[in-house]
Symmetry: C2
């Protein structure tokens, strides 16, 4: 799929077919995530692929906005490993770029995905850390729920010229 | 350009041809940025396109890592407008997704770009806020320097299987 088409056509998909995501595609999603830029190229990310049904259900108890996970074949927990960080504090933006790459790759590969927010909500970070057993220095950043789409939200034109300024506000 | 090709081929470009970026492409970059997902679809971003030569030079004084801006035709300051925020604190990740969309669009359109970090460095946020005259509730998040590339960094395979975990760490 064309890059600009993927960028503009990507929408949050919250309903999925009852069908697993092949390992080959999971690897492509993760590879896309790992191609993101990061401060001083630290690549301080870690990923937990969750496909255990009980765990996918428990996710919705940790974050009510992620209840769709119980009906999804999988989710990817994007984490920041602070032991790999080179520039303090940039893990928040670096991991967000990773998430966006995964969302675009999912759309381009015919999958549907939704970004459920974790950071900066401490209770969600703590809950997911405990769920998958993250080490102390690894932070849960975002949870992406993925599957073959059972809904096809239409692209939206979000361009707003009033948000664009030239040299001065 | 194919989406996965753009994701894997995108690299930081810090040297540019002495040639302006057409307005039509600037609009495509901004539209790509505005197509990013955001918490509760708040779309709390604002953009300042900087093509004033004196300002591009001054950017390098605010952030020494952005000195290449003085030799670039333009830069985009991605900002968060806290008056538009719906979920407190998510502007940091939302604007990072916006930046990644712009970087991918730039690469797909034959441009070169580099993400220079602003947030969470307070002195850079303050310096850029003053430079372009941002209102109090608008935060400088990231600065993207853009131009036609005068260097072509090779794609890198960053996939690392040791960063992938399954259900449990």
């Amino acid at each position: 799929m064309d890059t600009l088409e993927a960028i503009h056509g990507r929408r949050s998909v919250r309903r999925y077919q009852d069908k697993p995501v092949p390992e080959e595609l999971v690897r492509k999603l993760l590879a896309a995530g790992m191609s993101a830029p990061s401060a001083r190229d630290a690549q301080e990310w870690q990923f937990v692929v969750i496909d255990d049904k009980a765990m996918l259900t428990e996710i919705g108890e940790i974050n009510p906005n992620a209840k769709m996970a119980q009906h999804a074949p999988m989710a990817i927990l994007v984490c920041a490993d602070l032991s790999l960080e080179k520039s303090v504090g940039y893990w928040v933006v670096d991991c967000a770029a990773t998430v966006e790459n995964i969302l675009l790759a999912a759309h381009a590969l015919g999958l549907g995905a939704v970004w459920t927010g974790v950071y900066p909500r401490q209770e969600r970070m703590d809950g997911l850390k405990k769920l998958v057993g993250l080490p102390e220095k690894v932070m849960a950043h975002s949870l992406i729920v993925v599957g073959y789409p059972a809904e096809q939200p239409s692209p939206q034109d979000r361009y707003r010229s009033d948000r664009v300024h030239r040299n001065h506000w």
